[in-house]
Symmetry: C2
Subunit: 205 residues, 2 copies
Amino acid sequence: MEGKPQTRIQHKNTAAILDAALDVFSSHGFRGATVDQIAKAAGLSKPNLLYYFSSKEVIHRTLLEGLLDTWLAPLHALDSQAEDPLEEILDYARRKLEMSREMPRESRLFANEILQGAPRLEEVLSGHLKPLVDEKAQIISGWVAAGKIAPVHPYHLIFSIWSLTQHYADFDIQVRTVLPENEAADPFPEASHHLETILRKMLAP
Amino acid sequence: MEGKPQTRIQHKNTAAILDAALDVFSSHGFRGATVDQIAKAAGLSKPNLLYYFSSKEVIHRTLLEGLLDTWLAPLHALDSQAEDPLEEILDYARRKLEMSREMPRESRLFANEILQGAPRLEEVLSGHLKPLVDEKAQIISGWVAAGKIAPVHPYHLIFSIWSLTQHYADFDIQVRTVLPENEAADPFPEASHHLETILRKMLAP
DNA sequence: TGGATGTTTGACCATATGGTCAGGATAACG
DNA sequence: CGTTATCCTGACCATATGGTCAAACATCCA
């Protein structure tokens, strides 16, 4: 962005604030989160927090912008030159599931936004996400046309992967409540196996 | 519940309030919704609304309780005696997708709750949903054992159906933004076709 | 070491919000 | 038609919340 001659303290505190904000925003949504909550979670006083970020809105925007690249990286990585398209798509799905496991807060942050109509995310959706998905859908269509994978609607395939993987982060409480005890502790091994099976059957040419 | 000698006005206003509340809660979450918003949407003054429901909390609880049966009806209907298990599961999935189309507000209401850790829904999840899912998972396991459908983890199969169908309601904005114009107007025909294809391939014995 | 720069805080403010209340308006009904 | 039960409202209250500010306090470095 710009030259940021960050102090040690600045670096430490902004990081703490963003991490705390991720916690709070992801579990209460923008409206449900309070500046006091975030400040407390970051170990700062409210005025102190507002010394680093001028408003709740700014914290939120900074978070979203900072996480967007990470969030879209797996889809970005989908490679049109992959020798084995099925494996390439499986890799994408695996990475997405991995992100649900390792970054559930991020998943819920975005889920909250989109659920509520994406009021703070419209530009991102139409400006970044759509072109990216268009491009990758094109690639998938090419693989279908070449007979490398079974005929499938590329956009809905992507939606499927999103929903199947993000479900384990966004609806974590439900998943763990419903699952039998022994699996509830860690649903991901079975989820991973299930996901792979689905996709293999769906896409086998 | 109890004898409710509802007046005409009572009936009309409580209905209006619950409908308005569904609108507001589903698009802003519990915390994000305000009593004033709901009152305005229902065409009542705030004190008037609070004459019918003693608090925001009560409105919310009433809504959830009133919608729960409807929401779980499709899963309830999954019949162990069905002659064609694959078709029975497909029917379930179709009904769920239909609900995403016809009742997106309800879907988002529940999604909001679960996303935020189900603070007002814990009893429902462990008290009603879990036993129901346990029962239906049993049925599915039976079908697998009998070779009627392909081997599949019953709980994760149910999660798959939930996520694949609810995605179109909960992430509606994203779906419509990403999809090409001609499909964005109504994503459901293609979604339905896609869903059916996935499930057939996944479950074919 | 002393000033310049950066950091932190308690006190404070305006507004939003959930909720109350006394009394007035309206409908129901004998 | 008059009384009773229901319905509705403006004014009000307590609290929560986003945000400000002047002043105290640290830190850094010449």
